[in-house]
C-alpha cells in the first residue's frame, strides 16, 4: 500500500535542510527575525495554519500552510533582478521533491508576495504541504 505518513517535525526539517542547501545554516532560520549580521540573502520559516480532515479512525489528512520570508539586499539598480533570481532558486529547490523526502503527498506554492524597500526586497512564499498524519 503506497501510503505514508509525516509529522510536522520531520517535514519542517526537510524544508529547513532544503533551504540550507541553497544558502547556509546562518541565513536560514525557523523563526521570523529581521536579518542582522547574518547577511543576505536570508530566509525564514514560519508555520502559520493547518486544516485537518479526519479520514479514518487513526488517519488525518493535513494541509499545512508555511510561510517562507526571503530577504535580499542590493544597493545597486538590480534589486528586482536579485530578488527574482533568488525566487527562482527557492521555487526550483522546493519543486525538486514535492514529497518532502517521501513524507508528504505534495508541496504547492500557493502565492508569492513581493515588497520592495530599497535596498531591501522581501518575498513572502505561501506554501501548502499536504500529508497524512496518524492519530
Amino acid at each position: 500500500m503506497s501510503v505514508y505518513y509525516g509529522t510536522k517535525e520531520t517535514i519542517i526539517t526537510n524544508v529547513y535542510n532544503v533551504l540550507v542547501s541553497l544558502y547556509n545554516s546562518q541565513t536560514v532560520d525557523r523563526q521570523y527575525v529581521e536579518p542582522g549580521n547574518y547577511g543576505y540573502p536570508s530566509i525564514y520559516i514560519n508555520d502559520t495554519s493547518q486544516t485537518r480532515k479526519r479520514i479514518l479512525k487513526d488517519v488525518v489528512l493535513i494541509e499545512w500552510t508555511i510561510n517562507l520570508v526571503l530577504f535580499v539586499y542590493d544597493e545597486g539598480s538590480t534589486l528586482s533582478t536579485t530578488i527574482n533570481t533568488e525566487l527562482d532558486r527557492v521555487c526550483d529547490k522546493l519543486k525538486d521533491d514535492p514529497t518532502r523526502g517521501g513524507l508528504a503527498y505534495n508541496t504547492e506554492i500557493e502565492r508569492i508576495d513581493l515588497e520592495f524597500e530599497k535596498p531591501h526586497a522581501v518575498a513572502l512564499f505561501t506554501i501548502k504541504v499536504i500529508y497524512l498524519g496518524q492519530k
Binding site: 500500500m1 479512525k57 488517519v59 489528512l61 503527498y105
Partner: protein, 137 residues
C-alpha cells in the same frame, strides 16, 4: 437461516480475498471513520432491494441486489492497487457464481469508482438470482 442470509454469508467469504483485510455487513451507509488504516482494504456489503422477476405457479425467480463497497487508502498518482483489488474480487466472484450452490447465479452488474485522496472506493453492484416458492422465499 434463510437462503438470502446463506448467500450473504457466502458472499462475505468470497469477497475476503487475499488483499482484503476486513469484510463487514451493514444495513446503512458504513461509517468508515470507525475503522483504522490497518483494517483497510475493507469491503462493506449492503443489501438494497429484493423482488420477484417472474412467477410460474407458486414459484418465482427472485433477484436481490447487493452493493459491495470497497474502501482503500492510496496515493493520488497510483492506480495499481485499485486494479489489483478489482481484479481479485471479479475473479473471486467469477470462480463461484452460484455462491456455493446457494443461488442460480450472482451477477456483477456494475463497478463504479469513487472517493478522493487518500480514501478511495469502488462500488460493486451485484444481483443475486435464485428460484424459490413465493411463500418461503
Amino acid at each position: 437461516m434463510s437462503l438470502r442470509n446463506d448467500c450473504l454469508t457466502r458472499l462475505a467469504v468470497i469477497l475476503a480475498s487475499d488483499s482484503i483485510n476486513t469484510v463487514v455487513q451493514t444495513e446503512d451507509e458504513l461509517d468508515i471513520n470507525l475503522y483504522t488504516a490497518a483494517q483497510l482494504p475493507l469491503i462493506a456489503i449492503k443489501s438494497i432491494e429484493e423482488e420477484p422477476d417472474y412467477s410460474v405457479g407458486r414459484h418465482a425467480l427472485w433477484t436481490f441486489g447487493i452493493v459491495s463497497k470497497l474502501y482503500f487508502l492510496d496515493a493520488r498518482d497510483t492506480y495499481t492497487q485499485k486494479e489489483t483489488l478489482v481484479a481479485e474480487i471479479k475473479n473471486a466472484l467469477g470462480a463461484d457464481p452460484t455462491l456455493d450452490g446457494n443461488c442460480e447465479v450472482a451477477v456483477l452488474t456494475g463497478i463504479m469508482d469513487g472517493g478522493e485522496f487518500p480514501l478511495y472506493t469502488v462500488e460493486f453492484s451485484i444481483n443475486i438470482i435464485y428460484e424459490k416458492h413465493i411463500a418461503t422465499a
